[in-house]
Symmetry: C2
Subunit: 329 residues, 2 copies
């Protein structure tokens, strides 16, 4: 059945049923009134944080992504911004632009993806909007709470620069899709999963913020090079990067690949949702080891004065890092 | 200049400059970090309310609307939902989908409209997103605070049903545009202004909620008939409407029009952003008079048991009101 046959009221009922939450602090949820209503007394934090991200079929959705994964991604990209502040996500609204000929089964699967990603990170879908559009568009808005939001402005000379998880996975997925790169099936599956269903680093962001050791943080969704440039600009610093320490893909994946430019994957593609952050140089070794155990961190360089720019530190000296990555315009 | 020549970073800087706010409680504003950060201590309310609305060129934007008015509307439609809860708006995020060939002057004027509408209602634009899209799309999300949000569920048999301001103005604008209706120039200007630049009833919503007299409330953006139907469904009641009491257009406009179906304008078109609400029947005459002076209210009927449906009360008896208005699918 197409959604135009179902009608707007039927469609809203069908969707909001999947978003019902039993969290007591959500006084009014999706589809229940003009606004969502969230009790503040239970969220005893100092700051409210908020972020919004729009996904569009023609710009953002890679070929082969499933309806479930589209919905998942609409939540995950917003959660990644919440993670980058070290905040706890709380509530989410979703505005959907849907072509009239969209199949209800497609909407059902997409809504499932939205609900699953939100609930995986303790976030309630509290409201939204549905309109008719030429192409599929999803605008998510997420809000959360934090006591000490981690800014992009706090990196200091001497700090360690670190990244969570591994980078280049989604980039490899994009290269397979766009350039027809042939890789072993298992590698292809992992790479495409990273691209199609990103994992927001919510628990990692919270642990990093709670540790009190982190001086600045952001996500690397537009690629590592652009993230470094943004952090350098915001904190007025430079970076010396040890390229060999950058965790590009898994060891297993690297072993299975030939003739792939790992630097390109790691630095100049978007789509990975890891956190890039700096750690106070005075951190005690055992404190850092404890954090590293909890979160999974690679130290990839040090913060240097801004005059030194953003460079790879090599045996021979320094090599400037090109600042390029994903940009919309 | 086209925005594709300006580039993403230049575009973001150009836009966020206009959204800078000096409100102390906005710790991190638009374009400053991964998320906006809003201090909660200063917002000493019991509830956070949130709403989101997506506007699209092909679906929502009437011919002749200016870029300023597009931006204004993207904020106003969200503020209207905040008003309908009797809440105070506080912060706003805007996700923009822009075609690459959009002129920067167009974006500037639109951003001006966003900033002006937000600031007219003490709302800070705290964040957003920009993406490339096939057609112009604006998704606004508004947060506010309330101690006693007014729901759609509280109307009781015997309550008075009321509306703010006058209805049918935007509907007349739409009829002029879509059906080529010819009217005196001054009437046309007023009607188009109502359609192009809606006034959210924020102070009215707050006064109504603060009065403690209002038992239910919503906005009439999809038309009075659909709003009555929604209120009837939510509160499990019916309505008897005195058609002659419904404030359709201004007296001056009515006098200048011939052969226009006022019932159609008032009940079956969308685009007016007045508030429809019910008032406790036990209200004292002077209390109500005080409120009426402050807000500008018309009593248009009474709440009846749900079995009686939604009817016009006529001299001869009752006439069922057709439930139709603006629907996306």
């Amino acid at each position: 059945m197409k959604i135009e046959q179902l009608g707007e009221i039927g469609l809203i009922e069908r969707i909001t049923k999947k978003f019902r939450v039993n969290t007591e602090s959500i006084a009014v949820g999706a589809g229940e009134d003009d606004c969502a209503v969230i009790e503040l007394a239970r969220a005893d934090y100092k700051y409210l944080v908020a972020t919004t991200d729009m996904l569009q079929e023609s710009t953002h959705l890679p070929v082969g992504i499933s309806p479930f994964q589209i919905g998942w991604s609409a939540v995950a990209v917003n959660l990644s911004d919440i993670a980058a502040m070290g905040a706890r996500p709380y509530a989410f609204t979703i505005a959907m632009g849907l072509p009239a000929h969209t199949e209800t089964a497609f909407v059902d699967a997409m809504v499932e993806g939205i609900a699953d990603c939100a609930s995986a990170y303790d976030t309630a879908v509290v409201g939204g909007d549905i309109t008719r559009s030429k192409e599929l568009i999803l605008t998510g808005t997420c809000f959360g709470f934090a006591d000490k939001p981690v800014r992009r402005t706090g990196a200091k000379v001497g700090d360690l620069i670190c990244v969570t998880g591994s980078v280049g996975n989604a980039a490899l997925g994009l290269k397979i899709l766009k350039e027809g790169l042939t890789v072993p099936q298992k590698v292809e599956e992992t790479a495409k999963k990273a691209l199609f269903q990103p994992v927001p680093r919510i628990p990692e962001g919270i642990s990093l913020a709670d540790s009190g050791l982190v001086t600045s943080m952001l996500d690397i969704s537009d690629g590592l090079a652009l993230a470094l440039a943004e952090l350098a600009r915001s904190s007025k610093v430079g970076f010396e990067i040890y390229e060999a320490k950058v965790p590009v893909l898994s060891e297993e994946m690297r072993a299975a690949l030939r003739d792939v430019d790992l630097r390109e994957l790691a630095f100049f593609y978007g789509g990975d949702y890891e956190l890039l952050f700096t750690v106070d140089a005075d951190v005690l070794a055992d404190e850092f080891a404890t954090l590293q155990k909890k979160v999974g961190i690679s130290v990839i360089g040090v913060v240097v004065p801004s005059e030194e720019g953003i460079c790879f530190k090599t045996g021979q000296g320094k090599e400037q890092i090109k600042i390029k990555g994903y940009q919309h315009f």
